[in-house]
């Protein structure tokens, strides 16, 4: 084996290892990160003008015949004279899930302080949504 090749083996092996390291980091390495996701959901809020639950038209009390006699039919006062619909309200719900974050994305996020390590040892993304912080915290 010539001197040149013998001398080149070590740096070539290191270069090969470096390329393998980059490839592994870019293609396979990922870490679990707690991610908070915000989603807008529509919920029904009880109307303050609605009948109390015990007096609602579909409540057991309203279905009970007068004096407990079934032959008398439904109560004479029948269903409630008016029905107040519930109020629809859009709220933002925050859910926390664990996502596998690939290393290139992690590099991008740490450059702006987008990922921190909690005392529990878990990694957590510091922002929700797609738009990360614009500046490094340091």
């Amino acid at each position: 084996m010539s001197t040149a090749i013998r001398r080149a083996i070590f740096p070539l092996l290191l270069l090969l290892g470096a390329v393998a390291s980059i490839h592994y980091g870019a293609a396979y390495h990922s870490v679990p990160v707690l991610v908070e996701q915000e989603e807008e959901v529509e919920i029904d809020v009880p109307n303050p003008f609605a009948l109390p639950p015990g007096l609602a038209p579909d409540s057991p009390l309203a279905q009970t015949p007068p004096f407990g006699d079934p032959s008398l039919g439904p109560p004479p006062f029948g269903p409630a004279p008016f029905e107040v619909p519930a109020i629809k309200q859009v709220v933002t719900r925050v859910t926390q899930t664990t996502k596998e974050m690939p290393e290139p994305a992690l590099i991008r996020d740490v450059t702006v302080g987008g990922v921190v390590r909690l005392a529990s040892g878990e990694l957590k993304r510091t922002y929700s949504g797609d738009q990360g912080p614009s500046l490094c915290p340091t």
């Binding site: 870019a26 740490v110 040892g121």
Partner: protein, 313 residues
């Protein structure tokens, strides 16, 4: 074989150092994100803060420190450093690093110069082990001694421009990073933005420690050659180790040496090329190549890897 000899003679004849300024300028343009690609997922090989508004790549030392704080192995950053180190060693420091380029420009000031003793290069390993790896690992990135909180390159390229941007945006009434139209748009959460909300945003001024470190490094660069690189740079510390086995290296030819000590006088890093041509403080600026006993070689070049004249005092 003939081509190798030709390559050797080219390296020896061409005084590559005279092109260094232009090469540094070219690399500076590459690091300053001329195409606005903002490839922050990719680790760059040089010391250039990723907080800089004009940074193309992520700083490898910043990534090492941040990943140390997260207790995650940075395979990409390690691979990048190892690949560049194994290929060219600290040529990156001398020819491509923007912070080194700045210090080179400052060193042109006509002031009396003094050189630091070679042993001071050991401090770089302390910085690497303590501030880049240990402090983030044990205390997290919020600690005051976290490397990025002290880094002069980060102060110059990231903290000062970003603070200036915030101050200017406050003066013109536009939130940072937003166009005027975006600032005028209603808040998507439905809140009525208070008129003083943008103006009242706290501006994160760089700490006095950071400013003091930057001022000290820049002032020192006027009177000594590359004080940051030779004394404290953790990236230079990594590449300096790689100098010992990189594919491209500096070669000393004992048979051509005439004991003139020209190579020693040319080395601004305080190295003694006739004893060890790839010393720990060598950034491969190739100034010593002006001496006929020193040349650039590759592992495929014929001849011994290096040589020395230990008898020269």
């Amino acid at each position: 074989m003939a081509s190798m000899a030709k390559q050797k003679s080219f390296f020896h004849r061409a005084k590559l150092a005279r092109w260094r300024l232009w090469v540094q300028l070219g690399f500076l343009l590459a690091w300053l994100d001329p195409l606005l690609m903002r490839m922050q997922s990719v680790c760059g090989p040089v010391f250039h803060c990723y907080s800089c508004p004009l940074a193309t790549f992520a700083c490898p030392i910043g990534v090492l420190a941040q990943f140390s704080a997260l207790h995650v192995i940075p395979w990409i950053a390690l691979g990048t450093l190892l690949a560049v180190g194994a290929a060219v060693g600290s040529f990156v420091c001398g020819w491509a690093c923007p912070f080194g380029f700045l210090q080179d420009l400052l060193a042109r000031a006509a002031l009396p110069k003094f050189s630091l003793p070679a042993w001071t290069g050991v401090f770089r390993y302390l910085v690497l082990i303590a501030l880049v790896l240990a402090v983030p690992y044990w205390y997290g990135e919020a600690h005051e001694l976290f490397f990025c909180r002290l880094c002069p390159a980060g102060t110059l390229e990231g903290a000062i421009p970003n603070t200036a941007q915030l101050v200017l945006s406050r003066q013109v009434g536009v939130l940072p990073g937003a166009t005027e139209a975006e600032s005028a748009a209603p808040d998507p959460t439905g809140r009525d933005a208070a008129p003083e909300e943008g103006a009242g945003q706290e501006i994160p001024w760089p700490s006095r420690t950071r400013i003091a470190i930057l001022a000290a490094v820049l002032a020192a660069a006027l009177v000594t050659w590359r004080p940051w690189c030779t004394l404290l740079c953790p990236l230079g510390a990594i590449y300096a180790v790689c100098n010992r086995f990189s594919m491209v290296f500096m070669r000393f030819h004992p048979d051509r040496c005439r004991d003139c000590k020209v190579c020693r006088s040319l080395c601004r890093g305080g190295e003694r090329p006739e004893r060890r041509v790839d010393g720990l403080r060598c950034v491969r600026c190739m100034e010593c190549q002006q001496c006929q006993a020193v040349s650039v070689a590759t592992v495929f070049s014929p001849g011994e890897a290096t040589g020395s004249r230990p008898e020269i005092q």
